[in-house]
Symmetry: C2
Subunit: 430 residues, 2 copies
């Protein structure tokens, strides 16, 4: 389009925008929350115990104790995470709490006694504790680092996962890099599944990074497929054991997006020594996990085949939502260009909860503001980056799970309108 | 008794002990755990939702969010703790987790920003952060301090509560004293109920101890009576508000010994500013409390009158157990003397979960070892004191809630035998 055509198109879009604005929409694509229909798939949880509160080993789930979790839940966690029950621990409703406890404790009290405290090592070296953050990534991982004043170093993501050359070079050069956040399957927000080569190099990372380095392998979407033949993720626990680096790895999962989002159970797997250390800390910080809820979950989820059937029901609800979202992107933006460049590009995820949309560089915040003013809430621009600073200012995370199909279509029509409008108005202003 | 009579009695007791020893008993009076009959009083919890997961304000309890707790639970907590819903927060299954979070965060991150961090103030003063610990007290409070390297200063307890003269003098002299642990009603383990005068002086303590001082008021046994006309505990929140010291006080409670011990909900009350600060931390550390379990509890407990009826059912189970325990103490030890002193003294609690027994000075560890060898487990001697160091070595905490009546009687017969045996054998050795 020449300048005149651009102006005409801008005027047209402005008019459309004004009319949307007048509708006072109230739509929300911000968080990866399951919708009511998904939550209802697990409503049998309440009442499933039928007054039988005994665990398989005879433990009374109602009473105190059992910091490692009940035996049937540990066996389930082992199958889910890919290890043995002895290398698992089952917790309460928030896997984030496991991660927070691990990082806090390693920082202040040490992974193996006070002398190994990250903060002590940093103070001795006159530096700061640092974490690697494959970005874009999950804002709540980054929030833990920010709250604990751990410096975050963004690491590039590509189609195979984080850039391992960059990671290996960084940890080799800087002994104060003490951890890395990973969402290895259907990564939040870009949907990437780490390749076997990446997982293998990640498993060996402890040999370069040292004994006190920790990989937080948040496999939050392990079974959350949107396709028939889902990609496989290599087993980092098996690879780490082979590499002699099992102490460097924590694998984390939960039922938050399987049963009831806020009322599920969480799993963690690592070396026996790490789990003992974690249990020793947790025994100070809590009376133990809610074993009744663990038992409920085991009576309901039973085994991996049963869980996978449930995940197919989730998929039946989610897939049309992703399709509706992608359809609007396709219809509204495909083939369109401004300044010789596409108006944006987006992921077509095979699983997980998000579509990542990239605007032309520098436009994400403008688009988010425009849609917000028109009544469509999006995750704040930058929020998928450490310190909320997206260097290219182009990432927008779209989450279609919670709204209804008509709401998704309506919201996405506003979105594509705002993307085009922002792109053209900038071109005109340049 | 003269020396000869003592020797004869010792021989007689030794024989009795040998015959008990041969029985290979396996009895346990260690922990304040509810028994199965008590837990069963709340078995209606599972299934009570009847597929209606909506909170009174329409919130879907199954989904994420709601760090402050659901509205009906906050209203309930306000009635339970003696304040308004705005000054409450409702959490997960462990009130200890609230306490751990408060202490950890104040220590490392400050009660009002990083500059107020206790650790920073201590480092600047070249000293250590310290806590006052009315003793004997609750071992899991002390464990938090020990894990965080907070120095514990034991404070004497008397019939009215902690020695307030001592406390006021200590905090006046030492600005690094940053907190105090209190179980103000039916204190663990001595059963003391703090007098109105003590509560009033405690409420004013912040004026001496400073803005960053915190009272952890763990009212764990608020409604856990064993008598008809239970003593009243003055409302420290109301008194603190009047004194302008509300920021200095956290009042904590839970349903752990009301419904299911390991699967209840926890309450906390403080100033709005403190709760905001706590919520800001918890939002980093967790996805939020299990709202489904909060809703279950509210459908089940309903209101304070309903809760109090339930507590009467607990009392009906517990009171005979306390009576059995006290009966054996009375029968086995009352009126007996060695070296001109009673063989022991014990509390007759009006509520709570414990009887505190004091041996003659220096004999607690011997008695605990003797009973253990005879198959009767007691809480380790010293465990009710900071660093497990009971200076008089005479406190033994007895917990009759979990065992059956015959088990209590059997265990207590062994106990009184061991108390007399230990007392006489020491007298003979002197």
């Amino acid at each position: 389009m020449n300048q005149q055509q651009l102006q005409a198109r801008a005027q047209e879009l402005r008019q459309q925008y004004e009319s949307v604005f007048a509708q006072k929409l109230n739509l929300d694509l911000t968080r990866g929350k399951p919708c009511s229909e998904q939550l209802a798939l697990s409503d049998a949880l309440d009442g499933i115990l039928g007054n039988d509160y005994r665990c398989e080993d005879g433990t009374d789930s109602r009473n105190y104790g059992g910091i490692m979790g009940i035996p049937e839940a540990r066996r389930f966690a082992a199958a889910y995470l890919g290890t043995t029950p002895e290398r698992t621990m089952v917790g309460g409703n928030s896997s984030l709490q496991f991660m927070y406890q691990i990082v806090t404790s390693a920082l202040y009290h040490g992974v193996r006694g006070a002398a190994s405290a990250w903060s002590r090592e940093a103070a001795a070296a006159g530096g700061k504790v640092r974490f690697l953050c494959p970005s874009p990534g999950y804002d709540r991982h980054f929030a833990i680092c920010e709250a604990l004043d751990i410096e975050m170093i963004p690491v590039a993501m590509n189609d195979e996962g984080p850039d391992m050359d960059q990671i290996e070079a960084l940890v080799k050069a800087d002994p104060l890099i003490k951890g890395i956040w990973c969402v290895p399957k259907y990564a939040n927000p870009d949907g990437v599944v780490y390749s076997a080569a990446v997982v293998s190099r990640m498993a060996a990372l402890g040999k370069i990074a040292g004994a006190h380095f920790r990989i937080l392998w948040d496999n939050a979407y392990a079974e959350h497929h949107l396709v028939d033949n889902p990609p496989e993720l290599a087993n980092i626990l098996a690879l780490s054991e082979a590499a002699g680096t099992l102490d460097n790895v924590y694998v984390i999962g939960s039922t938050s997006k399987i049963t009831h989002a806020g009322a599920g159970i969480s799993f963690i797997a690592s070396s026996e020594a790490n789990l003992k250390s974690l249990a020793d800390q947790l025994i100070i910080a809590t009376i133990g996990p809610d074993k009744v809820n663990q038992l409920r979950h085991m009576r309901f989820l039973k085994d991996m085949p049963t869980l996978r059937e449930l995940m197919q029901q989730h998929r039946a609800i989610l897939q049309p939502k992703f399709e509706a979202l992608l359809r609007e992107l396709e219809a509204g933006l495909s083939g369109k260009q401004v300044n010789g460049a596409a108006l944006g590009e987006w992921t077509v995820p095979q699983g997980g909860y998000f579509v990542l949309f990239n605007t032309q560089p520098g436009l994400a915040d403008t688009v988010v503001k425009l849609t917000a003013a028109a009544g469509v809430k999006l995750t704040p621009a930058g929020s998928t980056w450490p310190y909320r600073k997206d260097p290219a200012n182009n990432n927008i995370r779209l989450a279609p799970s919670f709204p209804s199909l008509p709401e998704i279509s309506a919201a996405m029509k506003v979105f594509v309108l705002c993307v085009e409008l922002a792109s053209i108005e900038r071109a005109l202003a340049q």
